[in-house]
């Protein structure tokens, strides 16, 4: 990447990069949101500018803006035509128009900056004038933002979403059985499921909260209730194997990468023994040695077994059972056929054939593991876990009679953490009262404690993140506990830990340095993986991988193990960027990734053996760089049975370039992709589609980006042909730059770093605030991204988000007149 020029990125219009001849103008772009605007006379408040300043701006407007839009835009957007309902003639009066109609002018700015307007079939505007226009507008926006009172937006009270609930009860009580799995799914808004506005509370959910509160409290205090053994049968996807394929000479001796292995994730309710029974299907060649299978837990071989086929080679229904002790929680269980070619007749060509003379017409790959039955628990571990005891009592559990003072101490400490703020004496009284009442009724202290905990867990103080609204007028700084809570749910999707809570209690979060110390500590904590799962999973969309459908018969390499490995790759990659505090631009163009043997095979990268994920340098012949070439992203942006340059192009525009296409106009039929690869190449089909000018306005931006990734099929594997047509991976950016293939696409994308910087700033700020961003937040987004030009490490991005007024301040509630839907 070329070195960054500090201070120039923020507002450099894309046009400058398109038209190198304009570079001499870039000096005028030193302005940023916080520095003085370029025009000295414009520092007065926007509302009532002194007349001299108004006059100066009107002159600028009249000299620069009005002629530009008259010449370049009025063909379609004058008062008579008003294409797309945009009447620029009405906006062309004077500079105050940019104040009054800010949103429309922001739109104009975006369209010009991204080269989307004027449309391709129109003459290009003069580059110098275009640059002057976008610069003038950017300067005017900054002037308005700098002089207006800070608009930090109102963050709605937020209910904990499912993963926040799970993490919070884990960190509060040491209970980690994911009660949120039983809750109805959270709706998402603006791309994330932590959006306060859409996180509603239905009676169904309240019922489940009540239910979960009891289960969580009793598990913490008494341990998991003894369970009767029961069984669950996993029936993962299996495929009809292509038996015509030649026997592999170099094969994975774990068998895990082979399509006939079985991989499942199973959540075990309690620590106990479980029977794991693998059930087999298919045929073995007669005369082969017994089938040698392996049972793997979390990537480690824990058991080997042997199955002998029936006389005719049939394996259907044969099973292998093994009892194993497992901790509570989710485990990856796999059953593979070890050394599948070993012991087969010589005709199969494996490395260690047996000496049998017989030869039958069955291929070894016709045998596979079809089901896994999990039965248990047996010999369940009982009693509360050490983690729960520590969280509940901060030491040894009470023995004998518990004094009222000790009861108050225990519930007060719990409520302090559950409500994430100091508790009042009245609150402690009420909670201690529940314990006393249960004891009066003849039950134990522990029963009483359970009820008090249940009470806390259904409290609005626990379920909602409440922040007090300031009086109408100016925003106020968050109090230390509100700030600590915003930080912990942003970075951990969980409650503040003891150290953060203590810092808030002691008023030690008042300086930026103190906040920075906490943020850096929190990013290095394992809980920061929540940022990978929840932020990354929704931004890069790999969370959708599990429910994404793939036509497996057409893509036999896409096994459950492949899918799990794809997701792991992106997770490990993101985790590494956080842990090693790498450049955020690694997301765009990293020349490394994280692979296990399965995925390395998939990518055609030699030398990676085993199930462990490790950092691997991407050689040029892998054609991969950055997240857009990771198989997880390539898969979720495809259909089940084919790629879609449209979806992939849209994905890049939305998630890398920060230029999401508008929704399609009414009653335009979607692109017909059914015939692709059948009669015409994808490209011809899409080009025919773009002949329609209505379609072309957006598809001319999306499709050509997606073409650059056409060498990756619908599950992210490399290909040279689509059907009978050779892949043509040439494409172009909205502004006209062209490229061929994924690596050139990535190089093109990274030329203008400010696009991606603004994109990730936009996404992360949306996630951190739990609300959709508005035009009023654009200054903050530009400011965050500008800081990345001096220091592009991930921690700087997070700190820049944390330091925005949007994150640090609480605005008064919008007036009741605002269009807020009323409850029924």
């Amino acid at each position: 990447m070329p070195p960054l020029r500090p201070g120039t990125l923020l507002l450099v219009p894309l046009a400058l990069l398109l038209f190198p001849g304009c570079e001499s103008h870039s000096a005028a772009n030193g302005s940023s949101v916080q520095t003085a605007p370029a025009m000295a006379a414009t520092t007065a408040p926007a509302a009532q500018p002194p007349s001299a300043a108004v006059a100066a701006r009107d002159v600028g407007f009249a000299h620069t803006i009005r002629p530009f839009i008259t010449d370049n835009c009025f063909d379609c957007h004058d008062a008579a035509t008003q294409k797309a309902d945009l009447n620029l003639e009405a906006l062309a009066g004077d500079a105050q128009s940019v104040v009054r109609q800010r949103e429309k002018w922001e739109l104009v700015y975006d369209k010009l900056r991204h080269g989307e307007m004027p449309p391709k079939d129109q003459p290009r505007p003069d580059a110098g004038q275009l640059g002057a226009t976008t610069r003038w507008l950017a300067g005017e926006f900054d002037r308005q933002d700098a002089s207006a009172p800070p608009s930090v937006g109102h963050v709605a009270v937020r209910r904990l979403n499912r993963s926040e609930y799970d993490n919070t009860v884990r960190d509060l009580l040491g209970v980690d059985f994911h009660p949120g799995d039983d809750f109805p799914p959270d709706d998402s808004g603006y791309g994330f499921d932590n959006n306060g506005d859409v996180l509603s509370l239905s009676p169904l959910l309240m019922e489940k909260y009540l239910k979960a509160a009891e289960k969580v409290a009793r598990t913490a205090v008494f341990g998991v209730e003894p369970l009767k053994p029961s069984s669950y049968t996993h029936q993962p996807w299996y495929i009809d194997f292509d038996t015509t394929k030649a026997v592999k000479q170099d094969y994975d001796e774990t068998g895990l990468s082979m399509p006939y292995a079985l991989h499942v994730m199973h959540r075990f309710p309690v620590e106990a023994d479980y029977d794991l029974t693998s059930i087999h299907r298919g045929f073995m060649p007669v005369g082969a040695d017994p089938c040698h299978l392996g049972l793997w837990i979390d990537g480690k071989l824990v058991h080997e077994g042997y199955l002998t086929a029936r006389y005719d080679g049939e394996m259907n229904g044969l099973y292998d059972k093994f009892r194993v002790h497992l901790t509570a929680g989710e485990h990856w269980i796999a059953v593979s056929i070890l050394k599948i070619y070993d012991g087969l007749p010589p005709a199969y060509g494996g490395p260690h054939p047996n000496q049998s003379k017989e030869r039958v017409g069955k291929s070894p790959t016709e045998h596979f593991v079809s089901n896994l039955v999990v039965t248990g628990p047996y010999d369940q571990v009982t009693g509360p876990t050490a983690a729960s005891v520590a969280k509940l009592y901060r030491g040894q559990p009470p023995q004998g009679a518990v004094t009222p003072a000790r009861v108050r101490e225990i519930v007060s400490d719990l409520a302090h953490r559950a409500y994430r703020r100091p508790v009042t004496a009245a609150e402690v009284d009420e909670l201690a009262g529940f314990v006393a009442r249960v004891q009066r009724e003849g039950d134990s202290f522990e029963e009483g404690l359970c009820l008090a905990i249940e009470r806390m867990l259904i409290s609005s103080n626990f379920l909602f993140r409440l922040e007090r609204d300031p009086a109408p007028g100016a925003p106020r700084p968050l109090d230390p506990h509100e700030l600590a809570t915003r930080l912990s749910y942003f970075l951990w999707s969980s409650m503040p830990d003891d150290e953060l809570l203590r810092a808030a209690d002691e008023g030690r979060l008042s300086t930026p340095a103190a906040v920075e110390t906490q943020v850096r500590r929190m990013l290095q904590d394992p809980r920061a993986f929540a940022l990978v799962e929840n932020f990354g999973g929704q931004w890069l969309q790999f969370r959708a991988l599990e429910s994404h459908t793939v036509e497996r018969k057409a893509f036999q390499g896409y096994t459950d193990y492949t899918r799990m490995s794809m997701q792991r790759e992106t997770e490990e990659f993101f985790r590494y960027i956080i842990r090693e505090d790498r450049s955020v631009f690694d997301f765009v163009d990293a020349d490394y990734t994280f692979l296990n043997e399965r995925l390395a095979d998939y990518y055609g990268i030699p030398g990676v053996k085993g199930t462990e994920f490790r950092k691997v340098a991407l050689p040029p012949e892998s054609h991969r760089q950055g997240v857009i070439t990771q198989a997880s992203v390539l898969t979720v942006s495809s259909y089940a049975n084919r790629t879609s340059p449209v979806i992939r192009g849209k994905w890049i525009l939305e998630n890398i370039l920060n230029a999401p296409p508008p929704p399609p106009p009414p009653n335009v039929p979607s692109l017909k992709e059914e015939e692709i690869g059948v009669s015409k190449s994808m490209r011809e089909q899409l080009e025919a589609h773009r002949a329609n000018p209505v379609c072309a306005s957006c598809h001319a931006r999306m499709d050509p980006l997606g073409f650059g990734l056409e060498n990756f099929d619908a599950v992210g594997a490399w290909r040279e042909k689509i059907g009978t047509f050779p892949v043509d991976a040439t494409g172009s950016l909205p502004d006209g730059r062209t490229f061929t293939g994924p690596v050139q696409l990535v190089s093109t994308l990274k030329v203008d770093k400010s696009d991606f910087a603004e994109c990730i700033a936009d996404k992360l700020l949306t996630y951190a605030l739990g609300r959709g961003l508005t035009f009023a937040d654009r200054g903050a987004v530009r400011h965050i991204s500008s800081q990345l030009s001096a220091d592009d490490r991930f921690s700087r991005l997070v700190l820049a988000v944390v330091n925005t007024p949007q994150f640090q301040l609480r605005a008064p509630a919008p007036s009741p007149a605002a269009p807020v839907a009323s409850a029924p």
Partner: protein, 451 residues
């Protein structure tokens, strides 16, 4: 584990653990006599009418749906042929429109609008998040008026995994495509997709080892913590701004509703033994999943746990593939068929498959006796979609069929063509009327449909 045949097999489901922990939860909502076989004590009273809405996504191949003739003497086209056994209790209604699903100046997003407007008759506000706004849905109008008579005012069921990411359709929040049932303009009700969780909701998690006394005490404990949590939130609500108060009001309303349910359960007669074991989770097979959810809905009707239900077979814009019936193509792109014979044939297969599963539901209802009739006699089950031809997102001439006798109020064996531009909401008013629910207007309705 497919439920087939004419009766529900008992103890048929896998006794799975999976993620289950069998704690006796919310047994305070289980009346004291539950667990012993207790026949519904409704024989004396007049049997109630049940109302169910079943939604299928992405339109229907209308050529294979709409009968040519009107009146009683019509031939069932291919998709509807599976309804033949229930013909005497089924009415095909053609010509209804769902005008609020049209763009009306909002651009793309027909699928999101079709789902959100189908039962609400309201034009959903185009937004990706804050201020989602549609309208109250027909089922919820009924739930608010007569839902108090049963333990659950209504049931919302759906087959989709709702862990969807991002916007769902052209700038519309996923809330619009996930839910067809809306308690109020800003409150979509998320459907339950997990049969195990639905079962627990209906039948609790009865544990015979817990004594009635203990259970009563737990109900008391629950009421006391709910009561105290409600008071606390009430105090908080006084100190917050309007937007936050809305959230706290939502909390207060739901807490009150749970309290009422607990009280109701204490007074109610025991429901019938469900007769099936708790399902272990979501079956991997689509058809099995659908049949199981239909079965549970039928059981809920039979035990009179609720009288109102909605079921979303697929969310609008669904890209589910149906390899099991030879359609590996994702449904939504396929539905933009451009008139190609092959695509239409595949879509017809999907439409027919959905209808086959619906017929299973009708069969269940028909085999469940109640008093001198069957549950199907007592029910009105509407099956339809907010789009007719998905290729061009047509929201006119919707595919709609109503099955069941509506407690003697709804004649079958008819193909009715309504007057042009009749909103589908007019039909709902007519159905609600038969439920004894008073509603003069619903969304864009223009009057009760005489049918």
């Amino acid at each position: 584990m497919i439920l087939t045949g004419k009766h529900l097999s008992r103890r048929h489901f896998l006794r799975g653990v999976g993620t289950v922990i069998a704690l006796p939860v919310l047994d305070s909502m289980i009346p004291a006599g539950f667990g012993q076989v207790a026949k519904a004590a409704t024989a004396a009273a007049k049997a109630p009418t049940r109302l169910s809405f079943v939604y299928v996504p992405n339109g229907i191949v209308m050529n294979n749906w709409t009968p040519a003739a009107e009146g009683a003497d019509f031939v069932l086209p291919s998709i509807l042929q599976l309804l033949a056994p229930y013909r005497s209790q089924a009415t095909v209604i053609s010509g209804l429109i769902n005008h609020q699903a049209n763009a009306l100046g909002d651009g793309g997003g027909d699928h999101a609008r079709a789902g959100a407007s189908f039962l609400t008759g309201s034009h959903p506000k185009k937004t990706g998040g804050s201020d989602i706004h549609a309208g109250i849905s027909a089922d919820q109008v009924a739930a608010q008026q007569i839902g108090g008579a049963t333990r659950l005012p209504s049931l919302e069921i759906g087959l989709d995994d709702n862990r969807v990411v991002g916007h769902c359709d052209s700038g519309y929040s996923c809330a619009y495509t996930n839910s067809i049932s809306w308690r109020g303009p800003a409150t979509p009700l998320p459907p339950e997709s997990n049969p195990r969780l639905l079962f627990e909701r209906l039948f609790g998690d009865f544990d015979p080892s817990v004594s009635a006394e203990t259970r009563a005490r737990r109900a008391n404990d629950r009421k006391s913590i709910l009561d105290s949590a409600r008071e606390e939130a009430g105090r908080l609500a006084r100190d917050v701004g309007a937007a936050d108060r809305r959230k706290l009001d939502e909390y207060l309303t739901t807490v009150r509703e749970i309290e009422q349910r607990i009280e109701l359960a204490e007074k109610s007669p025991a429901p019938a033994d469900p007769g099936i074991d708790k399902p272990s989770g979501i079956p991997s097979d689509f058809g099995e999943h659908a049949r199981l959810l239909y079965d549970l809905q039928a059981l809920a009707f039979q035990a009179d746990l609720t009288r109102i239900a909605t079921m979303v077979i697929g969310r609008e814009g669904s890209v589910r593939t149906y390899e099991e019936i030879g359609v590996p193509d994702p449904h939504h792109p396929l539905s933009h068929h451009r008139g190609r014979a092959e695509a239409l044939e595949k879509l017809t297969k999907i439409n027919t498959y959905h209808m086959q599963l619906f017929a299973h539901f009708l069969e269940r209802l028909r085999t469940m006796k109640e008093g001198d009739g069957t549950l199907l006699d007592r029910s009105m089950v509407l099956y339809g979609c907010g789009i007719s031809d998905s290729d061009r997102h047509i929201h006119e001439n919707l595919p709609v069929v109503v099955a069941g006798g509506g407690n003697g109020t709804f004649a079958g064996n008819r193909h009715v063509r309504v007057k042009e531009n009749t909103p589908v909401t007019n039909l709902y008013l007519s159905l609600l009327d038969r439920m004894g629910v008073r509603a003069d207007v619903l969304g864009d309705s223009t009057g009760k449909l005489e049918i």
